[in-house]
Symmetry: C2
Subunit: 402 residues, 2 copies
Amino acid sequence: MKVLILGLDGYIGWSLALRQLSLGNEVCGIDNFSRRKSVEEIGSWSAIPILPIEKRISILQQEYGDKISFYAGDLVDSNFASDVIKKFKPDAIVHLAEQPSAPYSMIDQSHTLYTQSNNVLGTLNVLFAMRNHAPKSHLIKLGTMGEYGTPDLEITEGFMEVEFRGKKATIPYPRFAGSWYHWSKVHDSNNVAFACKLWGLRSTDIMQGVVYGTRTSQITDPSKHTRFDFDEIFGTVINRYCAQAVIGHPLTVYGKGGQTRGFLALEDSVQCMSILIANPPETGEYRVVNQFDQQYQVSDLAERVKRIADKKGLDAQVQRFENPRVEKEEHYYKADHEQLKKLGFKATRHIDDEINIMLDDLIIHEDRIRAKKDQMTKLVKWRDGSDMIKQRVVNPLILPMD
Amino acid sequence: MKVLILGLDGYIGWSLALRQLSLGNEVCGIDNFSRRKSVEEIGSWSAIPILPIEKRISILQQEYGDKISFYAGDLVDSNFASDVIKKFKPDAIVHLAEQPSAPYSMIDQSHTLYTQSNNVLGTLNVLFAMRNHAPKSHLIKLGTMGEYGTPDLEITEGFMEVEFRGKKATIPYPRFAGSWYHWSKVHDSNNVAFACKLWGLRSTDIMQGVVYGTRTSQITDPSKHTRFDFDEIFGTVINRYCAQAVIGHPLTVYGKGGQTRGFLALEDSVQCMSILIANPPETGEYRVVNQFDQQYQVSDLAERVKRIADKKGLDAQVQRFENPRVEKEEHYYKADHEQLKKLGFKATRHIDDEINIMLDDLIIHEDRIRAKKDQMTKLVKWRDGSDMIKQRVVNPLILPMD
């Protein structure tokens, strides 16, 4: 099977490439290295060092020969998108090549416009390239559970049945996204669903929860490590807490900490995507899956990381920070996630074990985390009118955690 | 009251400027003349000639002095959008400055990308400029009834109440748009609603039906005429039928002709927008109104135009053409449109009278219509893989009309 990974150089893209190669599939990757550049732009870096792309690919070629290929380029360049798909003729296309950070999209006007144009236009170029050169290919598009937001309703997988004024209908589940980034993913979902209807393409739109972890079964030595961001902009919550615990920085809980989300380990994210690659929907079908293992509240996660860190003799404190985001801090949350289980997904990682491994992996790179510790709290205020990255460190509001 | 009209040089923008000036309001307009350029690009022109913008503005200034001002520029240029709003400090901003044609967005990949980037990024720039320089201003954003598509449910005005798994909630009415253009408007609606929530802006999102007509009460002599497009790409259905009737060209009904839409006269479109300008929503409110007068099936409209044309001695024939669009040709359609009535809207034009006036206005310009008659049937096939404007004339399928 031929799998095209858009965004191969990223946190999940790299991990998925390793998995797909280990399964015997042929992998082609592309990347424009925007993740490396954006993290550098905001003054941070990956806690775990990663090799330059040439070395990464060369190491894979030593093991897998011509089963791995790579092209540097940008999906917003429609010729590039078209050329790659025309040349590789993939059976599956996993689209991880978007600006993936909500806070980054909230920095200022230019970052908002970049996020929406990059994500929407890049995806449109992929859709047109598929129509022209690989109409039977399966597009696995990374969306986010954040498209749904936190409505006061149970969250379904993409669609819901309603009765309204005496008529029944299946409608798309409503989206209540909470950042310009999250809305770019909703725009994508709408465009992808329309392309399936218009041209008979097939796609799985993954509403993914928050991913955590430093490892997968294929990440066995330093040359195969994937990046690990811990700054406020690109570091997701559990990953950031673990990095903070390692250097004795307060674990930054935003506001009341009652924010509930779905989470899954990197190992299981890669497992889910591999299951989807092996199980495409019908031609013309637009399928939505909710991809996460368990729901957690962020304040509980902070306490969990603290507890495990304490056992290792780390000095982890949990502190509430003024919430820079515009979000509910206490809310109802109950989301379906059955479809992947029906296809065979079983969570293989327990969160406590994973946090344990993460802390061990990160302790080695304590110096790299400490060097960029200010980037953990250089909070982008989502409601602000400012048009520059905030340089100030926000003073934490010292609130009781109970 | 200070009213900023984005897209003043267009069909509705110009008509609204005349109305707002006649009401004593101060009007500032902007335009990038994309409508003039796009209509030229596809090889057509306005049936009714319009003056160059300098002359249009100069004529208004003779009558209204410094109550009218104009800036040439593009909203995708964020500095331009910001400068205009900063300088004029509008009370209301009417946003008509988008690529407004569904078929244009379906021509090929570059026209799709242009439509979505132009519309989405231009609107984002307006929102940021409002936040920075006119946060109390009222954004009146032109969406379309086409955002809803043709679901098998009654259509509400923007939101619907549902009960789902034992919980009740108000959700956005689902969108089933049918072209890349229509989806760009959905993306806009989502972005505008989010900006209201995030920054406390206020906006009315108009889901407008199809507008027809050559006149408003202010269009009294040739120097004040608004443009009138009749080609397949920019000419809306009643307008196109009237132009076809005038030159004895078959009235081009697509497919079965059972497509039902909401319609309103240009005079009433301008009336509705003036009512909305005078009645802003609360600060932070995102309001959706469905703006149309009556629902009609397109085959009935063709018969109606034929009947009125016949009385004038015109030789109008109705013919079914192979449908280039991807749409249901027979479907349920019932859409609420109460909010504007509650604010005082009363339809002032009967469709038959309006068609009568249109035919009279167009007969004078029969030569201009005849010169571009091929542009009425150079049908853009929405499902096609081609990446160029089709030059061929599609042979009509001769089907019985009953």
